[in-house]
């Protein structure tokens, strides 16, 4: 391996047809590589430090990255000794609003949090229904514009769960121990391209663009999660979060074709839920729907687009499953939802306590076990 470097082109197999290829020769540029490595390392560490400081100055704190691997870790608990657990399925409201430590304090057992951000949770419910090992209890959170619209974008989770490689599992463990607890910038919302995309670029005429949802979540290793406190303390950020939701507040369908299409979608979602719940019930698994609170313009939109009478009520009737709607209980109202959709951490703790009390009082399982 020569240490000098010539300007001439290095020969490769492309230059030697039809013969045995010799041991490759790699040049080593004659540079002081140790000092160069040290300098590069110092620069990279310094710049990373500045980057970390920048995000912390904006209020970011380290948290567990809520990715496929984290969800899969929780989902596997069902198959690894906790087949009788209470499992929470739903969208982000279930994830943010139900606090696992509070639930555990009241019930004596910590639920498994499988709710997912920004998607209908039906595929996760179907996966659980298909798992014959599971004999626990299921709470299904219903966010109307996700649940009844059938909007699913994390369906890759189930294949990921089945095919997760040992390398991916180990990678998540390393990340959870050595990266995520220490670095606030390690969050998809602060990734380089995400940050660049947010800059005020010129707009292309006729291009339909929307602002992506910004960071809302702080997660823990078992997916106990809460709303980022910046939503409470930063009026501009709160206003931005509301504006982002507003982008999706379309008017209800007006043409007969659109109305029929929406109805078909809604019927399909309810039918899928009915099938899954029938399978769960056949194994003696209690299922409870929960409509967590929303407020302001978001609630108004939901009432317009998915009126309770034609969505929630039909869901309960067709699935023959009980449900808790926040509007039916005064104890489930009056919480602080800074961006109309998710509660502050303090509110979520009080809400969980109230919700659990109602569930235990009105929907206690017949076998005498606790939720």
């Amino acid at each position: 391996m020569p240490s000098s470097t010539s300007n001439s082109r290095r020969l490769t197999a492309a230059d030697r047809p039809g013969v045995a290829q010799p041991v490759p020769v790699r040049d080593l540029p004659d540079r002081p590589w140790w000092p160069i490595l040290l300098g590069a390392l110092l620069l990279a560490v310094a710049l990373t430090g500045v980057w970390e400081w920048h995000w912390r100055a904006l209020g970011a704190i380290p948290g567990t990255r809520d990715d496929n691997a984290l969800w899969a870790r929780q989902r596997r608990k069902v198959d690894e000794g906790r087949a009788d657990a209470t499992v929470l399925i739903g969208s982000s409201r279930t994830l943010f609003d139900i606090q696992l430590p509070v639930w555990e304090r009241l019930s004596g057992r910590r639920p498994i949090q499988l709710a997912l951000v920004g998607t209908s949770p039906l595929f996760a419910l179907e996966d659980l229904a298909a798992d014959v090992q599971f004999k626990g209890k299921v709470l299904v959170g219903v966010t109307p514009d996700l649940f009844f619209s059938g909007y699913e974008y994390l369906t890759g989770l189930i294949p990921y769960l089945r095919k997760e490689s040992p390398s991916q599992r180990v990678g998540k463990l390393i990340s959870m121990d050595f990266v995520e607890p220490w670095f606030a910038f390690y969050d998809q919302d602060f990734a380089l391209f995400t940050v660049l995309r947010r800059q005020p670029w010129p707009h292309r005429k006729d291009l339909e663009e929307s602002i992506s949802v910004r960071k809302l979540l702080i997660s823990e290793p078992d997916r106990n999660a809460h709303l980022w406190s910046k939503l409470e303390t930063d009026a501009d950020y709160r206003s931005l979060a509301r504006r982002i939701w507003t982008q999706n507040f379309d008017d209800p369908p007006s043409t007969a074709q659109e109305i029929a299409e929406n109805q078909r979608t809604l019927d399909t979602q309810i039918s899928r839920a009915s099938t899954a719940i029938a399978r769960l019930r056949a194994r003696g698994v209690p299922v409870l729907f929960v409509r967590d609170p929303s407020s302001g313009d978001y609630l108004a939109f939901e009432n317009r687009a998915f009126p309770r009478r034609t969505s929630w009520d039909v869901l309960l009737a067709k699935t023959h499953a009980p449900g808790v709607h926040f509007q039916d209980y005064s104890a489930l109202q009056g919480y602080d939802l800074p961006e109309w959709s998710h509660m502050t951490r303090a509110s979520a703790e009080r809400y969980t306590e109230a919700l659990y009390g109602i569930i235990e009082r009105d929907f206690a399982p017949p076998d005498g076990t606790r939720w």
Partner: protein
């Protein structure tokens, strides 16, 4: 295990540390062999069996070749190796493809055959290690090389983790001799190896995954009809992405091997500065193109039996080379287009044999080559012909009235990075990276290296698999 993951960082640190211990050379080679199996098992442990089958069959086939005296016996041992390796490849990579085509052919004759659903998982890197092990028996069969002196060296040649799953496709004569004597990287090799790994990961994580993949994905995978600008931007993005992804892998692999004291061959030589397609294939995925040349094109007759036979050998090689990349007819078309280009170039070169282009003509021919290469990338990237035609129609301006697809940030990223990549290739056309680094001030090297590392960290890649893993 993917290079751009935390798991690999920890794995590699352990391997380098173990390799640096003052242990016997055989012990250190066993460590490398075990590490390589761990590297492969980290995807799907059962597939190690395939690796073992491939290793053992070719080891015994080569031993048999040495002992055999009659040509028919030698041919039988060679065929055993080829059938075993290609058999595995056919089943795992092309099984479903063949079945679907069989169903389609039967349907054209009015026979509606419906087989049970099959779900064959493609073992990572099977196309690469079957080619590597086949080259071992084929080299022995062709009397280009002697078999390895011991099984450990040979098994390590097949399994050595830097090249195992996505090349460079090593020949036994390139690697086995390196295992015969003790090797350990010195400080300069270790540092330069780390620099190459950083460069490779920068290409993959920052340029390919962060800045280019999104534009290609939006144009090719979302079922939208692209206009002129979007179609070209999506295609150019993919041309940059696939280079940065694959060359990034090769550079990281070469750097990883160097950190352990081993040399691996170049797999890319600034291909977007190619003038003509024979030049392109001497610069792009060199270890595959030279493998196909040595073990397919030349045995098919090469250019030794007249123009017609040459054309047939060339086209067969390129069509099969296309199919090697994936079980889809779009890859066959990609290979066929390259075969057509190569044949056309042969004709043009013959017609204008005395022509020597000046600098501007050279640049023009280079840009023409790059443009035509981009047309082939459309078939390579598109999942079906409908998408490919839609993008091609967009590229020639036929999709009038198409709505914009890519926001300005995507267009800007593609413009800056692809221009940068192509310009860099032209500047480096007749040079090596090492020759340029040898003249670069150390301070500048440290700054560029530090910035690349920082960019990798803040890009927060999610460990996306390298594109060539699927092949």
């Amino acid at each position: 295990m993917v290079f751009n993951t935390l798991t690999f960082v920890v794995f590699f640190a352990i391997v380098v540390a173990l390799h640096s211990l003052p242990l016997a050379w055989t012990t250190r080679k066993i460590n490398l062999l075990i590490a390589s199996y761990v590297f492969y098992a980290a995807w799907n442990p059962p597939f190690i069996l395939l690796l073992w089958i491939s290793t053992v069959v070719d080891w015994y086939a080569a031993q048999g070749l040495v002992r055999a005296e009659r040509p028919s016996s030698r041919r039988a041992w060679m065929l055993l190796s080829v059938v075993a390796n290609l058999g595995m490849l056919l089943y795992f990579k092309y099984g479903k493809f063949l079945l679907l085509n069989f169903i389609a052919v039967m349907a054209t004759f009015g026979v509606h055959y419906q087989p049970p659903d099959i779900d064959i998982v493609l073992p990572v890197g099977i196309s690469f290690y079957t080619f590597a092990t086949m080259s071992y028996t084929l080299d022995v069969y062709l009397r280009r090389a002697l078999p390895a002196r011991n099984f450990l060296d040979y098994a390590l040649f097949v399994t050595f983790f830097p090249h195992l799953v996505a090349g460079p496709i090593m020949r036994p004569t390139e690697l086995v001799p390196q295992f015969e004597r003790p090797r350990r990287a010195n400080a300069r090799q270790l540092c330069f190896g780390l620099a190459l790994m950083t460069l490779g990961l920068f290409n993959k994580v920052v340029l390919a995954d962060t800045f280019l993949s999104g534009a290609a994905e939006r144009v090719f995978d979302r079922g939208k009809v692209p206009g002129l600008l979007d179609a070209w931007a999506g295609t150019l993005a993919f041309s940059g992405q696939i280079f940065c992804d694959f060359a990034g892998y090769s550079t990281t692999a070469i750097g990883a091997a160097l950190c352990l004291g081993f040399s691996m061959p170049d797999n890319f030589r600034f291909p977007y500065a190619a003038v003509g397609f024979s030049d392109f294939w001497r610069r792009w995925h060199i270890t595959l193109s030279s493998w196909l040349r040595d073990y397919l094109y030349i045995p098919l007759g090469g250019n030794r039996h007249g123009p017609l036979r040459t054309a047939m050998a060339l086209m067969t090689t390129m069509l099969l080379g296309g199919l090697w990349h994936g079980a889809n007819w779009t890859f066959v078309v990609w290979g066929g287009l390259h075969g057509t280009y190569l044949l056309a170039e042969r004709g043009v070169r013959k017609r204008f044999s005395g022509y020597r282009p000046g600098p501007f003509a050279l640049l023009g021919l280079g840009l023409l080559t790059y443009t035509l290469v981009n047309l082939t990338w459309v078939f390579f990237r598109a999942k079906d012909f409908g998408t490919a035609w839609s993008v091609l129609r967009g590229m020639v301006g036929f999709n009038t009235g198409a709505k914009p697809i890519l926001p300005v940030i995507f267009l800007s990223s593609v413009a800056v990075i692809v221009t940068g990549v192509v310009t860099a290739h032209w500047c480096m056309r007749e040079r090596t990276l090492e020759s340029v680094l040898a003249r670069t001030p150390p301070l500048l090297l440290a700054i560029v290296w530090g910035l690349m590392a920082f960019a990798i960290v803040i890009s927060q890649g999610s460990g996306n698999a390298f594109i060539y893993f699927q092949f």
